[in-house]
Symmetry: C2
Subunit: 308 residues, 2 copies
């Protein structure tokens, strides 16, 4: 009996020590890099919404201009992306879980059967246009159904996602949706994009376990960046990058007739914006700045291994 | 009592005479043209599947190169077409009722909730790729639900359809689906594209009433037409056009990156095909041949008035 008690106590001690070690180790250390490494994922959002978006993103993935990308499963071009995923098994592709369909002339609906997720749909039968509509209208149990449907559809199409993230940040729009997002990620053993927010207003930390990975810093262009200062914006982000896990999120596309029509009357994140993002991530200056600043490019697949 | 009987008999006689007159009058006469007029609808199919398709079709409608067009309601660009319909209330737009989603990398699903129409969907959750799949798999009561959902969605989007026709002819693929197609058309008081088929194997005539309109001749390009003989094919059709109600069906688009991607590996009805159709219907030679052959261009809206 005594030995059994000692063995049990020893087990608890070892477990606690391992948990403490896991919690105190930085992501860089957990990946085998020095504790003060600057890790960077360059990530393309919104695959499967348009051929122009897919073509630019595939090219950027192929030449290493981005390290990862994520897919809007209800997008009509899902099969094009699934074909790419099958012929490029090393491509680091996640799912850009979507609760919104934001463009004016071009919409998509739910993957789940419509009558099972009525709170997710607007009067045109499409997902809500804005994150505010999502926060106000959706039922979290219907979000869970739709998230599961998006993941299962991707798996059925032969896509092996390396991570989950969130289109227009709608997974972070209420504590209830955030709880679903984390729960599903744990079930599928996938890392999620979840940034540290001072004060933790969404109570994210209470949802996480010791394996989970938080991104320390996310850089994304915004409407205040002038078109002529586009490269400067990203070069500044790279030059000022800090120790920890960083992600630069870009939206890639060609400024062509298709993308101009998808993004009509929407200059923010529009087709010219996406062309600029493509041109900048493809530039030698950005590549050189990453090297000069001793930044380690990583993939979501690396982080996926940490949450198994 | 005697007078009531006489009055009733008189009523029956007048009704019979009117029915006989309606049945013996040609469509041309019913529209106020000479009985031997050559009537022609030039019709663009497949609106709402791609911006390239929409842009080419809108241009052809605006300049009168086609007189009518029809919309694939489950197509992701439905809102673009609905916007056009609202700003062009005279545009003659019908619904291209769809039970198929035939392209390789770009798919659409049902408008009706998926769990209500499972026999209409393939394993990817999209409508079947081929008409043969439709004929083999669908349940006609689910076709009825989907047809109603497509019509109601179009109405809700502000589209006022002038007619119904059938994407890839799937409404004509079984007698049961044809019966649904005619029933729905009668309910909504819309004319349908239904060609005369020798021997009437689908028992169409038994479904029709005295107001219904049949198209006497449908011309559509097929894979045996060489690209270099495209204009000749249509000019021959115009020059040899016979008395009665004729329709030339075209598929319009620009041979650009978007349409090339939608129609990848599919030269039949592909993007170059659609560019050729656009170029030919826009040509002065076709316009002149129509005039020289005393052909009367009409719209489905004209036929819509006959079925009220």
């Amino acid at each position: 009996m005594f030995f059994r008690r000692v063995a049990f106590l020893l087990f608890i001690l070892i477990l606690s020590a391992r948990l403490a070690a896991a919690q105190t180790k930085t992501v860089a250390e957990r990946l085998g890099y020095p504790a003060d490494a600057k890790l960077l994922i360059i990530h393309a959002d919104d695959l499967a919404i348009a051929h122009s978006e897919d073509a630019a993103s595939f090219e950027a993935l192929d030449k290493g201009a981005v390290t990862s990308a994520s897919i809007i499963v209800p997008g009509p071009w899902l099969t094009e992306v699934a074909d790419y995923a099958k012929t490029h098994p090393d491509a680091d592709l996640g799912l850009h879980l979507a609760l919104t369909s934001e463009w004016k002339t071009f919409r998509w609906g739910s993957v789940e059967s419509k009558d099972k997720v009525p709170s997710l749909l607007d009067s045109a039968g499409a997902l809500w246009p804005l994150t505010e509509n999502v926060a106000k209208n959706v039922k979290s149990q219907e979000v869970e159904k739709e998230y599961r449907a998006q993941i299962e559809r991707a798996l059925a199409m032969g896509i092996r996602p390396t991570h989950l993230d969130t289109h227009m940040g709608s997974a972070l729009s209420t504590p209830e949706i955030l709880a679903v997002y984390v729960k599903i990620a744990h079930e599928y053993h996938l890392p999620i994009l979840a940034p540290r927010i001072p004060g933790d207003p969404l109570k994210l930390s209470a949802l996480l376990n010791e394996k989970d990975v938080l991104v320390d810093s996310v850089t994304i262009a915004n409407p205040s960046v002038q078109a002529g200062k586009w490269k400067e914006f990203y070069l500044d982000a790279v030059k000022n990058m800090k120790t920890g896990l960083n992600e630069i999120i870009v939206h890639l596309g060609h400024d062509d007739a298709e993308l101009q029509a998808v993004m009509v009357d929407h200059p923010d994140y529009g087709s010219a914006w996406r062309q600029r993002d493509f041109d900048v991530v493809s530039s030698l200056e950005v590549k050189k700045a990453i090297q000069d600043n001793h930044i380690v490019l990583i993939h979501w697949r690396d982080l996926q291994k940490l949450v198994q």
